[in-house]
């Protein structure tokens, strides 16, 4: 039983030595970020809204931004090597943001639908 009572808290990372991330990861992410920024810029100058569908420009820009963010979060912020709690926290933050967007927009986007308005 001594084992079970040894440490306090959730104790996933007790006494862990720091995790040293190989440099290649950092430079890889750096390259992705720079490259992503450049692509974002040039894609924005092309009229995808007209050629594909309305909103395509924004969608692509956001997808790239999301990818960049994911790289920063996973590598620079070490989430890839962190406890499940940290994963959960990072995801929950964006999930709650999504709730705010979705439930606000469900109002705005259906204003003119007028299901039961007499």
């Amino acid at each position: 039983m001594a084992e079970g009572y040894k440490t306090a808290g959730d104790a996933e990372h007790q006494h862990a030595e720091p995790h040293i991330v190989p440099l290649i990861y950092y430079f890889g992410v750096f390259a992705v970020l720079v490259f992503g920024t450049i692509i974002t810029y040039f894609v924005a100058t092309v009229d995808l809204d007209g050629r594909l569908f309305p909103g395509a420009n924004t969608l692509i820009a956001l997808l790239i931004a999301f990818f960049k963010m994911t790289c920063v979060v996973l590598i620079f912020m070490h989430v890839r090597w962190s406890s499940r709690l940290i994963w959960l926290t990072a995801i929950a933050g964006f999930f709650w943001l999504a709730i705010m967007f979705a439930f606000t927009m469900q109002d705005y986007l259906t204003r003119s639908a007028g299901v039961f308005t007499g």
Binding site: Y5, A8, T104, Q106, T110, R111
Partner: protein
């Protein structure tokens, strides 16, 4: 396993020489303290002061409504009075009440830690509270606000001629107090639990605070940014909330209620936590459905974020959104109902003793039930068109906020008073006060359901004469309630100086907080406790001395 008991009851019979109260007597030792227990006391004093101020405003409202005409207060003044009542009670009393006082004091002790994870940040939150509060008080002295606690635009941004910005800033700053408290609790509960204190051995009070903290952390920043935008809008007339120049007042309501609906759960979840403690402990029976109660707190915290639109049914929000919010409102009441069922099931065949805290707990269940069920009325989209903005709503939220949270707060305060101060209060007076409060409360607010149903709108200084009889009842009830609230102030203060000394475990309970002396030493425990018993374990397994319990409570185990 039972033999490993480094904190047995024998040991704490001998008092430590220095407890947290006697560890320093200078003003500095209080104002710069990092001890969570002292910070809780600081909150206790300041929050009580705000409660008194909010109560004064409430009396003014009730006195004005004694007669149909707007005679005691002009309508302009009346608007300010009810606004300030709301702001102070919600942001400066109810939200910090249980978490910042009882939660602060007890969470570390209940999980066997020496302190919260970030003691300095804990002190900082208190200072944020003080700065935000002072700013609000300053605005009140200058002339106050008249927008209602909801600050609806465009009235608040464009038309109101009162101190909206100063109060907004006060609430902004105070918001960070709440955020940091929540953050501190979450981290503490994750990392500071004593050896053996697993998640499912934690008292439900701690679970409830975990859920509350989630709401504080995820919701409060949104109100902060919203009042910031409000202030900027007022300052610079940009028009994001002003329909005349392309803005959208309903957007303000979305942002406001995104926080403020979850915030009503900040104002009830901690109370539910206290009630779980009281019901189980004063029935001397393991709580029924521990896991259900624990997870229903989390469910309330999560689902609470999905229903804010039920405050906006008649605001111009789309009908479709109204439907979705109405449906989800029904869903979110399920976890609250689960709690009520489980408390009732715990009482069944329990060894109930009617100590004062238990009285409050039983009152809570009844009143919360009424409050919650009327909430369901209001959540049904058809009915609410009739009831919205009437006294029915006022009655609804007072049943949950006062009948719920305030009674839970008082119950908790009485329950842990011996631990906090080391003194016992008068059993007789405390029971009298509890009953007076219960009677006064119902007399004040039950008539308001009827008034609202009959169509009396809220937030007006005058009303048609046919409503007068019920309003007189209500004002009479408010006077009784006021007396009921003043009595505890007297006997609790009295007990600090002249009360009987409390033992370490006056109620003979197994929880960790009863295994350290009353009042606890600064480090909470002489040595880090090791937890080997389940929560609410009233058997010998938990190391309880059953002989004592048998004598005191005539229990049969």
């Amino acid at each position: 396993m039972q033999n490993v008991n480094p904190i047995n009851f024998e040991k704490i019979k001998e008092e430590p020489k220095v407890n947290y109260l006697t560890n320093g007597f200078t003003v500095k030792s209080w104002l710069l303290t990092k001890d969570h227990k002292r910070i809780a006391i600081l909150y206790l004093i300041t929050v009580s002061a705000f409660f008194a101020l909010g109560g004064t405003y409430a009396s003014l409202i009730r006195l004005e409504l004694l007669t149909p005409a707007s005679d005691l207060l002009q309508s302009g003044t009346y608007n300010r009075v009810f606004t300030q009542h709301g702001i102070i009670m919600v942001f400066f009393f109810l939200i910090p009440s249980i978490p910042a006082i009882l939660g602060n004091f007890l969470i570390p002790i209940m999980i066997g830690a020496k302190d919260l994870a970030f003691p300095k940040i804990n002190l900082l939150s208190w200072y944020f509270y003080i700065i935000g509060g002072s700013l609000t008080l300053y605005a009140l002295l200058q002339g106050g606000v008249d927008t209602g606690w909801t600050f609806y635009t465009p009235y608040s941004t464009t038309f109101s001629n009162s101190y909206v910005m100063a109060v907004g800033l006060g609430i902004f700053i105070n918001g960070f107090s709440s955020i940091l408290t929540g953050l501190n609790f979450i981290v503490t509960i994750h990392t500071m639990r004593a050896p053996g204190m697993t998640w499912f051995r934690m008292p439900l009070f701690v679970w409830a605070h975990y859920a509350t903290s989630l709401v504080m952390l995820l919701g409060t920043p949104v109100i902060a940014i919203t009042v910031l935008l409000l202030a900027l809008e007022r300052l610079a007339r940009i028009g994001i909330f002003d329909p005349a120049i392309g803005g959208d007042p309903i957007l303000f309501q979305h942002l406001f209620w995104f926080y403020s609906h979850p915030a009503v759960y900040i104002m009830i979840l901690p109370g539910m936590g206290v009630i779980s403690e009281l019901i189980s402990n004063f029935s001397r029976k393991k709580i029924f459905g521990y896991e259900f109660i624990a997870f229903s707190s989390i469910a309330i915290a999560v689902f609470g974020f999905l229903v804010w639109g039920h405050h906006m049914f008649v605001s111009g929000q789309s009908v479709y959104a109204g439907l979705v919010f109405s449906f989800l409102t029904m869903v979110v009441s399920v976890p609250s109902a689960i709690k009520v069922f489980n408390w009732s099931a715990t009482l069944y065949k329990g060894q109930i003793s009617y100590d004062t805290p238990m009285l409050y707990a039983l009152f809570f269940i009844g009143l919360f039930l009424i409050g919650g069920l009327t909430g369901l009325f209001l959540g049904s989209i058809g009915l609410t068109v009739h009831l919205t903005d009437t006294y029915f709503i006022v009655a609804h939220f007072h049943y949950v906020m006062v009948g719920g949270q305030v009674l839970a707060y008082l119950g908790g305060l009485h329950y842990w008073w011996p631990k906090i101060t080391g003194k016992m209060y008068s059993e007789f007076w405390s029971k009298i006060a509890a009953i007076i409060i219960f009677v006064g409360f119902n007399l004040t607010f039950f008539p308001q359901f009827i008034l609202g149903y009959m169509g009396m709108p809220r937030r007006y200084a005058s009303y048609p004469p046919e409503f007068q009889v019920l309003n007189i009842f209500s004002t009479a009830g408010a006077s009784i309630l006021a007396i009921g609230l003043i009595i505890p102030l007297i006997y609790l203060t009295y007990s600090i100086f002249f009360g009987e000394k409390a033992s370490a475990n006056p109620w003979l309970l197994p929880g960790l907080e009863w295994r350290t002396s009353s009042p606890p030493p600064t480090e909470n425990f002489e040595e880090t406790p090791i937890v080997y018993w389940e929560a609410y374990d009233f058997t010998e397994e938990s190391g309880l001395d059953l002989e004592d319990a048998r004598n005191k409570y005539k229990v049969t185990v």
